[in-house]
């Protein structure tokens, strides 16, 4: 990162403003693409810290790809798979990684990966990466890039299901920043060639890519139709949607034709193949292409219906004559402008609206005779809307301090040895006179002083350090045994200041 920044700075200092903007743009795109893979790397990095299982044997990134795959494959026109379906479909793969582990563990692991791809536990259920870019004034700015991999949606019945985000599909199929249509054609040609040359596993990848592109087309159309159902005026039915429908229809016709041809091709490859592995691969490929054709047919059916959806919605959302009284247009004059405001400004208009549109807050003044009834009434349970039940992450309590602060201060006082070194035995006797617990602390501190961390003391900016040395004298003490150490205080000099390149242990001790 820092090196990249320097390179960009050179560009700006040369006055190549447009050039730097270009590099900047590409850099930001690459940083964003890199960020999308971050959560997957993170899974493997964090797996050793899992408490419920020894997760070393699992390849988390692979499982994550499987989960994203399953979600994407299940995404059809109306909805996607729910959490349990995705887990059920991924578990066999996880089991293959560690067949000797119990099935409950496989499920737990899968759920953990799924939760992490959604990023359960954060408010936005997404990820944020920080990247740097050059603003209009040419100054370096740190910006946040927010993205999601799996998104939870609610269907009309309120059931929650999963869809893969554009970012996830891009990471998955590795087609960053490319046009849907051209990617599709490229994949098509590649597929045709591969089959002719007999490279079936590459062909499978290309077929899957084609399927993802179709899913994306369907997704765009679905969004437009859904918006139309809510409000006809939200969608541009004059030019935008007709163009989209026409594009998609051309796409479907073309794909249907070529995929039928490809299907015939692979079927032939399958029947002619002699190697059982290749036969199996070809059979799998036939399935994928058949699924692709199904998707196209589904998309086509929706495309044909789209026009009538629009007409019936237009009828349903009747429009009336001109306004009789001048009032505020809530959407156009309040909601949309407020959405475009920065957060701190938006607080003013939303606050004013809230204050005025929620009515009165009548303070509750309970009477004494109602008190018992109020206390006995069970709290009203709003069962479908409740806060996350927190799972507490328990940290063991820190050990209580063995010595009190006062004892530390006294030991400190004792160990402020003057220039002449003192014996440990003398210090211990002095300490015993003050507090029966104190000798133990003094002893420990002196032991530490046998080999103090001088480098650390230097970094902290300490002027002196306590040193202890053994000269062979034995300690004669009722409580402790060992050597009667000599304790002294040494001055520290910073080698950077004095310019001496000496070894810390030897040269720093004055």
């Amino acid at each position: 990162m820092p090196r990249v920044t320097v390179a960009l700075m050179w560009d700006t200092s040369d006055g190549v403003a447009s050039g730097s903007a270009l590099i900047d743009d590409g850099l930001a795109r690459r940083l964003k693409a890199l960020a999308c893979t971050g959560p997957l790397h993170d899974l493997d990095a964090r797996k050793t810290r899992l408490e419920f299982v020894d997760a070393g044997v699992y390849q988390m990134a692979e499982i994550a790809f499987q989960v994203i795959d399953q979600v994407t494959v299940a995404m059809d026109f109306d909805r996607g798979a729910n959490h349990d379906e995705v887990i059920a479909r991924t578990v066999p793969f996880v089991a293959a990684q560690a067949p000797d582990r119990p099935p409950t563990e496989h499920e737990k692991i899968t759920r953990w990966v799924l939760d992490n791809l959604i990023n359960v536990g954060t408010t936005d259920r997404g990820f944020r990466a920080v990247y740097g870019a050059f603003g209009h004034a040419g100054a370096y700015e740190r910006r946040g890039f927010d993205f999601k991999l799996l998104i939870e949606f609610a269907d009309p019945n309120g059931e929650v299901y999963l869809r893969a985000s554009d970012e996830a599909i891009n990471v998955l199929i590795g087609a960053l920043d490319t046009d849907v249509e051209s990617a599709q054609i490229a994949a098509e040609i590649k597929l045709d060639n591969l089959i002719r040359r007999g490279k079936l596993s590459d062909a499978q990848a290309a077929a899957q890519q084609a399927r993802y592109s179709t899913v994306r087309y369907a997704e765009r159309l679905r969004q437009k139709l859904e918006a139309t159902r809510r409000d006809v005026r939200m969608v541009d039915w004059e030019t935008e949607v007709p163009a989209l429908i026409e594009d998609a229809l051309t796409h479907v016709v073309g794909r249907y034709r070529s995929e039928t041809a490809i299907l015939a091709n692979i079927r032939q490859a399958r029947d002619e193949a002699e190697d059982s592995d290749r036969k199996r691969k070809a059979a799998h490929l036939v399935e994928i292409v058949e699924d692709c054709i199904n998707r196209h047919t589904q998309l086509q059916a929706r495309l044909l219906e789209a026009g009538s959806v629009f007409r019936s919605e237009q009828d349903r959302q009747q429009f009336s004559g001109p306004a009789r009284r001048a009032t505020v247009d809530l959407f156009g004059q309040l909601l949309a402008p407020t959405l475009a405001l920065p957060l701190s400004d938006a607080a003013r208009s939303t606050g004013a609206f809230f204050h005025a549109a929620t009515g009165l807050a009548t303070p509750v003044a309970p009477r004494l005779c109602d008190l018992v009834r109020l206390l006995l009434t069970p709290t009203q349970e709003r069962d479908d809307l409740i806060a996350n039940v927190p799972e507490p992450d328990l940290i063991p309590l820190p050990d209580p301090d063995v010595f009190t602060e006062e004892q530390w201060a006294r030991a400190e006082e004792l160990l402020e040895v003057a220039e002449v070194p003192r014996r440990l035995s003398g210090l211990l006797t002095a300490a015993r006179g003050m507090d029966p617990e104190l000798p133990r602390l003094v002893m420990l501190r002196v032991l530490y002083a046998v080999s103090p961390e001088i480098g650390m003391a230097l970094r902290q900016g300490d002027q002196t350090v306590l040193l202890a040395a053994d000269d062979g004298t034995r300690l004669d003490d009722p409580e402790f045994g060992g050597a009667d150490l000599l304790v002294a205080v040494a001055q520290l000099t910073d080698p950077a200041v004095t310019g001496e390149q000496t070894d810390f242990q030897e040269g720093e001790v004055a």
Binding site: F145, R230, L330, G332, L335, A336, L339, A357, L385
Partner: protein, 277 residues
């Protein structure tokens, strides 16, 4: 006002105010209430007396009619004022609290926008709007998508500055918030947008502004005339004034954001959104 106000009149006016403070009571269901509302309409002195008492309590009379009953609003700093902090309550961190406040306020605004899609609906006293959770979320998200398209077309870098979260555009914050999220025990998380909308709709229903109709679309509700009065007479104006102060002025000609455009190909009229925010 005359100098001689009967004490019984004062009691009646205060009773009318007390009834107006009860979100659920309506003149149609309560003979005494209906009688007081009729008196309010016919007797200017009584109406004035009611206003004076309301004023003393820190309240403003917005409307009084047989359909709505007495509609009261709280003046600033009044004891009866609804505080958004009490409503948001749950959040802990200081910087997050502002985000939650704005999102909740925005959702209340969106509920009104779905309930009264055109200015005319807001002006028309007999109009009953319908709102459901899905519509509200969908409307805001679609508006966010339009703003996103616009930002993409302008080729601005809209990613928020890392050290100045207060400058982030509101639509980005809403778009980032998940629509639905499942908690560990399979319920709807309250900080997802649908959870927040459900909360808003239930809250406003408790205030007598909406009536629950069915569970369709995550919960469908019908507006009451009281809500219309509140939004029209007070809330929309208040929010609009704030926007005017900020210099964000959008002037329309009274037809709203919709236009009818005749097409060459058919005699049908094609409706489209005329002005992209």
């Amino acid at each position: 006002m005359t100098d001689h106000v009967a004490i019984t009149d004062a009691a009646d006016a205060a009773r009318l105010i007390a009834l107006g403070m009860r979100p659920r009571s309506l003149p149609a269901r309560d003979l005494i209430y209906a009688d007081l509302v009729r008196r309010h309409a016919e007797d200017p002195t009584f109406a004035e007396l009611t206003s004076a008492i309301a004023d003393g309590l820190g309240l403003v009379v917005l409307a009084c009619g047989p359909q709505t009953g007495l509609v009261l609003a709280a003046a600033e700093q009044s004891l009866f004022a609804m505080k958004i902090d009490d409503y948001v309550r749950r959040t802990v961190f200081k910087e997050r609290r502002e985000v939650e406040r704005v999102l909740h306020g925005l959702i209340h605004l969106a509920v009104a926008a779905v309930a009264y899609p055109r200015p005319d609906d807001l002006a028309n006293d007999s109009y009953l709007g319908r709102v459901n959770v899905e519509q509200v979320d969908g409307l805001v998200r679609e508006a966010c998508r339009m703003l996103e398209d616009k930002a993409a077309a302008a080729e601005e870098n809209n990613d928020p500055l890392d050290d100045a979260p207060g400058l982030e555009r509101t639509w980005r914050i809403y778009a980032r918030r998940p629509a639905a999220a499942v908690t560990k025990d399979g319920r709807l998380a309250p900080d997802s947008t649908r959870g927040m909308i459900t909360k808003a709709l239930r809250f406003v229903t408790d205030q007598g502004f909406l009536t629950a109709v069915s569970g369709e679309g995550g919960g469908t509700y019908r507006t009451t005339p009281r809500y219309q009065v509140h939004v029209r007479e007070l809330a929309a104006e208040a929010a609009f004034t704030e926007l005017l102060d900020l210099g964000v002025v959008v002037v329309t000609d009274g037809t709203g954001t919709l236009r009818t455009v005749p097409t060459d190909t058919s005699s049908d009229t094609l409706y489209r959104e005329a002005r992209r925010v």
